[in-house]
Symmetry: C2
Subunit: 114 residues, 2 copies
DNA sequence: AAGATATTTCAATAAATGTTGAAATATGAC
DNA sequence: GTCATATTTCAACATTTATTGAAATATCTT
């Protein structure tokens, strides 16, 4: 991952609403979720949301596809992994000082009973 | 780590010069290095550098101490670790899907011979 | 085609950001 | 105390950012 891309990804995540949006999409899993559902969940104006989605998309952190009249946004796990990889690669003078970080989507699970 | 702090740390790192500065300080180790040395290494105006140091400091990513007329800046590894922890904690729907990430300063080593 | 729904586009605006140049401050050397 | 060195402070400026409101576009339903 190029430094330029790292800065872009960091900048994309370095904003309250976008960090929320991205985390929501990550939890939603690889299938993603429609823009409207994100808007409702986070109480954001649809046009504001479009703006933020664009940022995340430009940074390669999310993808979009159309499904009927909905736009389905999904987290791009690979980019997140690359970002984490870059940060940890360089966290100790270029020496890999940590176990490899890998971030994979999680299938929905039943809640762990108390 | 609070979300506010995460956003602050991400924002601090999401800038070309600051990412360079931080990486340089990380490589410099816990002893840190004087502002002037950073300025020379990265070819930055001293006042510009002060501006960026402030950002990093406010985000808790670096510390300063005075040594004679020099100001010694040092990377704050704990904050970086917390940031990585937050990002990986939330990277899979709040489930810890990765081994714990830990970033420790590295002692200077001899170059590995070819 | 008409109407409703989902999302985007556009223009306007306030606020934050990064850089520069000039001047100030703090420390150390003489 | 005077001078040089190291860094910070301040004001100015151009740029980017996030949000809003109004209008446009695309898709589906009837």
């Amino acid at each position: 991952m190029e430094k330029t891309d790292v800065v872009a990804a960091l900048a994309a995540l370095a904003q309250d609403n976008r960090l929320d949006i991205f985390r929501l999409l990550v939890e939603a899993g690889p299938e993603g979720m429609p823009a409207g559902a994100v808007a409702t969940a986070l109480d954001l104006a649809p046009n504001t949301l479009t703006f933020h989605f664009d940022r995340l998309r430009t940074a390669g952190l999310v993808t979009v596809r159309r499904d009927g009249r909905s736009m389905i946004y999904a987290a791009q796990y690979e980019t997140m992994n690359s970002l984490l990889g870059y940060l940890t690669d360089n966290c100790c003078g270029g020496v890999q000082c940590t176990p490899a970080v890998e971030c994979k989507p999680v299938r929905k699970r039943a809640k762990i009973p108390a």
